[in-house]
């Protein structure tokens, strides 16, 4: 293939995120007292997949040059809902899963309608809708509790053939079912076009409104998958504002680490997933080096700060100062 150079340039962010993650995880697992065992990987995977799904939700919207500050709250809301309805027999649990996913889609649809047809700025609109989602979550679970259909939860958070973590397999399935077809579809390409330049996309006959709406829908869906998965991990639902807020902020960090541009139009959900896994590994690195856990938040913050400053290296290539001001 003669166009490999262009393809490499286009996917550089994703590849970098992948390489950094592999290096960090290698350091992590080689220094872990238990070594590179199935147990270590399974625990790390369960934590990482949660953030990866939320980061994926954020990616859909960020690609269209929007931002969804309500992903964390949709995540919390669907967690609370799942702790009510994904229970009982296999049939009722399956219906419950469908209900949870539909709720996620509905949340995404609300965001999309407000942003596209209400013509509000996504930052403010999703902050407000996030408050509403959190309120509904509190209605569902004023105090933490609930249950979940055990066999399904164990299957998804356990191990396949006692080797590979099932959560990673589930994540791969989500990527194959949700992201890959979307990326290759007309509406997915339209989302990238809208993110690059909305005016140019409109002039070329791209369905701008539909592309954005679809992005918000899928964002809600991915966030509800994350909420469902949290229920499987914790066996309960909790309307925690702190959880919602931090997952929203972490999702932005993960998206950036994964090479998705916040200005829209470039990056991929796969990059964001590796960004999320990397972010989680950074947090865990402290433990294996036997440092005081007190220093963990500071360490995580400094690594994040360093990571976002690395992108400024491009400033050395700037020849004309005007290029600084887009």
């Amino acid at each position: 293939m003669s166009d490999w150079r262009y393809r490499l340039a286009q996917n550089r962010g994703t590849l970098l995120a992948f390489v950094f993650f592999v290096v960090m995880f290698a350091i992590y697992s080689s220094n872990h007292p238990a070594g590179f065992s199935a147990n270590v990987v399974q625990t790390a995977a369960n934590k990482g997949v949660l953030l990866a799904l939320v980061a994926m939700a954020q990616t859909f919207v960020v690609i269209t040059a929007g931002i969804d500050l309500s992903v964390g709250m949709v995540f919390v809301l669907t967690n609370c809902l799942a702790s009510w309805i994904v229970v009982g027999t296999a049939t009722t649990a399956a219906l419950g899963v469908v209900g949870v996913l539909l709720t996620g889609l509905a949340c995404g649809a609300i965001n999309g309608l407000i942003v596209i047809y209400g013509r509000l700025q996504p930052i403010v609109a999703t902050i407000a809708s996030g408050a509403v989602f959190f309120g509904v979550a509190l209605l569902l679970r004023p105090i933490p509790g609930g249950d979940v259909y055990g066999p399904l939860a164990d299957a998804v958070t356990g191990r396949i053939f006692d080797v590979a973590p099932a959560s990673l397999a589930a994540l791969v399935v989500v990527v194959l079912v949700l992201w890959v077809p979307y990326r290759r579809s007309a509406i997915g390409r339209a989302a990238y076009a809208v993110g690059s330049s909305e005016t140019a996309a409109y002039m070329s006959g791209v369905p701008v409104g539909a592309a954005k709406f679809c992005a918000y829908l899928l964002s809600g869906l991915a966030a509800s998958l994350a909420g469902l998965f949290l229920t499987f991990v914790t066996y309960s639902g909790e309307a925690s504002a702190a959880n919602g807020g931090s997952y929203t902020l972490f999702s932005i960090a993960a998206v950036v680490l994964g090479g998705v541009s916040l200005f829209g139009g470039s990056g991929s959900a796969i990059g964001a997933i590796f960004g999320a896994l990397m972010f989680r590994t950074i947090g865990d690195l402290m433990f294996v080096f036997n440092l005081d856990p007190l220093w963990q938040p500071l360490f995580q913050g400094l690594v994040l700060l360093a990571a976002v400053c690395v992108g400024s290296a491009r400033l050395f290539q700037v020849r004309n100062r005007l290029e600084l001001f887009p």
């Binding site: 407000i114 700025q121 403010v124 509190l138 902020l249 500071l298 700060l305 400033l315």
Partner: protein, 325 residues
């Protein structure tokens, strides 16, 4: 003052008031009237002064948020900069008489340092503000966790801080309200009467054009973020004085209300447009909304839902962008 000048003055005032600001003030009055149907005490001076006092904390923080939003940027580091302001000032109180005297300026200075870090990242490293402020927020959180866990500092505030936040001045006017009045007057002067303020609006509209007009845009952005950091920390100092102690999560409840207040006051989140009068209206509106919802004993869930719905409804009323293209 003669009759003529007075009408001319009100005429000039009317022309200068944006429709969003007028609507926001209208909503405040409507809310008070609705509240008074529930209980007469909503119109009592004591209740109103108490609300203004509570609003002052948000008002000081929102002033910094507004300057950043006018630049077309956003400051997500508010929660932990507020906490840094509160916690460092109380910590300074524990360092003997000199520390106690310097508690308030020290708290603010710590916020300015974090603000400078934000500003340097945005202006000189050209990192999107949403990311760098997020990272600085994480660093501030880490610093405070190490600070509390490692050094077990004093967390109760100094008498001066308590007096500033809870005391009364003449005629029963709360000190906190006076602080907000001073900060607000300073912000109005800075934004409307100085070249710095003009530059802030200019950069918010188009940084490239401002740069080509000879403004050192990078320095203006740096200074604006430093001011915002200082004001957030000052809010934290006041909050620590109000609660008479500082806590780690004390700033969490202030990020979203501050942004919402600025936007409800008619400022454009894209920058370059908005007046301080609007921010005052937005701050009072948010405080009043929160207060009324808690007075009528709505559950936390209902409060969150109403809060979100009201913000969206008000923005749909006047915060919509024009049809692009």
């Amino acid at each position: 003052m003669s009759e003529g000048t007075q009408t001319r003055l009100t005429g000039a005032l009317l022309r200068r008031v944006d429709p969003p600001v007028a609507i926001a003030f209208g909503c405040i009055i409507a809310m008070l009237l609705l509240g008074s149907l529930y209980s007469r005490s909503f119109l009592s001076p004591e209740y109103l002064l108490q609300q203004l006092k509570v609003a002052s904390f948000l008002g000081v923080i929102a002033t910094g948020t507004m300057i950043v939003i006018l630049l077309g940027q956003i400051d997500l580091s508010v929660p932990w900069v507020v906490a840094v302001g509160g916690m460092m000032s109380t910590a300074a109180t524990g360092w003997g008489p000199v520390g106690e005297a310097m508690a308030i300026p020290f708290g603010i200075a710590c916020g300015v340092v974090l603000g400078l870090l934000n500003g340097f990242g945005v202006a000189y490293l050209r990192i999107p503000s949403m990311i760098i402020t997020l990272a600085v927020n994480a660093v501030a959180q880490g610093l405070m966790v190490v600070h509390t866990g490692g050094f077990s500092p004093q967390d109760s505030s100094s008498p001066a801080m308590r007096k500033l936040a809870t005391g009364d001045f003449l005629f029963g006017l709360p000190n906190a309200l006076l602080v907000w009045a001073v900060v607000g007057a300073g912000a109005i002067f800075l934004l409307n009467r100085t070249t710095f303020g003009r530059a802030v609006y200019g950069i918010g509209n188009r940084e490239r054009a401002a740069y080509l007009s000879g403004i050192d845009t990078q320095r203006v952005v740096l200074v604006a973020f430093a001011i915002a950091g200082g004001l957030s920390a000052f809010g934290g100092v006041l909050l620590a004085g109000y609660a008479s102690k500082a806590a780690q999560a004390m700033g969490d409840a202030y990020l979203l209300p501050a942004i919402a207040a600025v936007v409800l006051g008619g400022a454009s989140i894209l920058g370059g447009r908005g007046s301080y009068l609007g921010t005052i209206a937005g701050v009072i509106l948010i405080t009043l909304l929160q207060s009324i919802l808690s007075v009528i004993q709505m559950s936390e869930a209902g409060r969150q839902i109403t809060y979100g719905v009201v913000i969206i409804a008000m923005l749909l009323l006047y915060g919509r962008e024009g049809r692009a293209r």
